[in-house]
Symmetry: C2
Amino acid sequence: MSTSRSTRPSAVQGARARARQEITVAIKDEARRQLADDGAAKLSLRAVARELGMVSSALYRYFPSRDDLLTALIIDAYDSLGEAAERADADRTATAPPPSPVERWVTVCEAVRAWALAHPHEYALIYGSPVPGYTAPTTTVPAAARVGLLLIGIVRDAHGTRGLALTPLPDALRAEAGRIAADIASDLPLEVVAALVAAWAQLFGLVGFEVFGQFNRVVEDRAAFFAYAATGLAHTVGLLPAPPAK
Amino acid sequence: MSTSRSTRPSAVQGARARARQEITVAIKDEARRQLADDGAAKLSLRAVARELGMVSSALYRYFPSRDDLLTALIIDAYDSLGEAAERADADRTATAPPPSPVERWVTVCEAVRAWALAHPHEYALIYGSPVPGYTAPTTTVPAAARVGLLLIGIVRDAHGTRGLALTPLPDALRAEAGRIAADIASDLPLEVVAALVAAWAQLFGLVGFEVFGQFNRVVEDRAAFFAYAATGLAHTVGLLPAPPAK
DNA sequence: CAAAAAAGAGAGCAGCGCTCTTGCTATGGA
DNA sequence: TCCATAGCAAGAGCGCTGCTCTCTTTTTTG
């Protein structure tokens, strides 16, 4: 017992490392709570420490600065959103009548919207104004890409993009779209790749307008409007409308 | 001379009121300068006062709180953006070959984008995360609506929306669209009204993604991509593509 | 000309992010 | 088993912030 414990700190990780992890999580949880209450601007290291019964300077052993704490929350938020979207798609895909590509697309869009409305301040953190100077640390990239990759996957699975009326791609963008396609979806037509990137940004325009109150005296039935707009986005990326034949 | 001056403070407005206005403007200008440098989070009343050679408490005679200063900057930003968009449209409309509706639409979209890229922190103020608690003062509404109204005007002027393939409007949204249309564009088909609201939000999704760096390792030639996406938006609101016949 | 309104100056309060120093304790090799 | 060491909490403190209060000066007004 003693031999395996002393030389391998990876498996069980002495009580100290374990405590460190637990405290790190507790700090983030408390910070997230305060974030939900008052927004990122009011998030205070001292208040978090106070609530956790520790002194403010002790907190710097876990996060070297306030912005680092925020960065950690940003990464968690991206992951939380990505997971919510992926789970919504998985749940929907598992139901009895397999969903059409448009239905899958709208399901994912609605999951993004629901997550944003449930966590408005965390949404603001990741899709609102960048908080510190301008530094978007590269570590957030994979987490940030999850929703985009999920939408691409849906379109690729559909592969039934049989020449719907897509906006023709200007020559200036063919190279651009080709480069993007090489990265993420080399099997899709360039028109679809470009439309996907645009739809990706436009989706967050819709969500952001609702979360940030821009629809306040304009749109009342926002759920219905969002479903309509998300369906429109699905069409712009080449997913076919439901067959009118019944 | 004396009679007209004493009883009518409206015309010339004693030297005091004039000074007050000038100082108010100077405060906002300096605040805007600091905003452009360091962003809204770092904007400090004390620093503004210091730069203006006054003591911090004196500044509270002009703006009762930091958030009130920010609110003033927000209104100015909305107006600045609205004016930039309107001027771009007016300039384009005045050129020799009168522009097509799509060209006008894209011109306005590009003006919005250009303004946002030139004033990223001010853009973040109005279309990023709301700054204070959540209060969007009603005073900002008219200024905020200018770009939207401009886009509506272009579509109305076109009135050539002869049944392009618009996403059909679900029944649940007919009442909604009818209400919006009654407010702003009672002469447009409901499908176009709904598509306009969606396109309005989606436009700012595109702009926001670029300004906030979400396109960073994704889209390189962002001007070309934006023009492409804005053209797509024009189509979704029923503006006809340029006739392929040459 | 005197009363009143408006503006500036200064001190001060509580809170913030962050640093540095000082003790304490659990950990891992001798 | 013992002990040097590394990790951690605590406290004091610096300079900054938003904001309030009081006091004095300046300008407008009846």
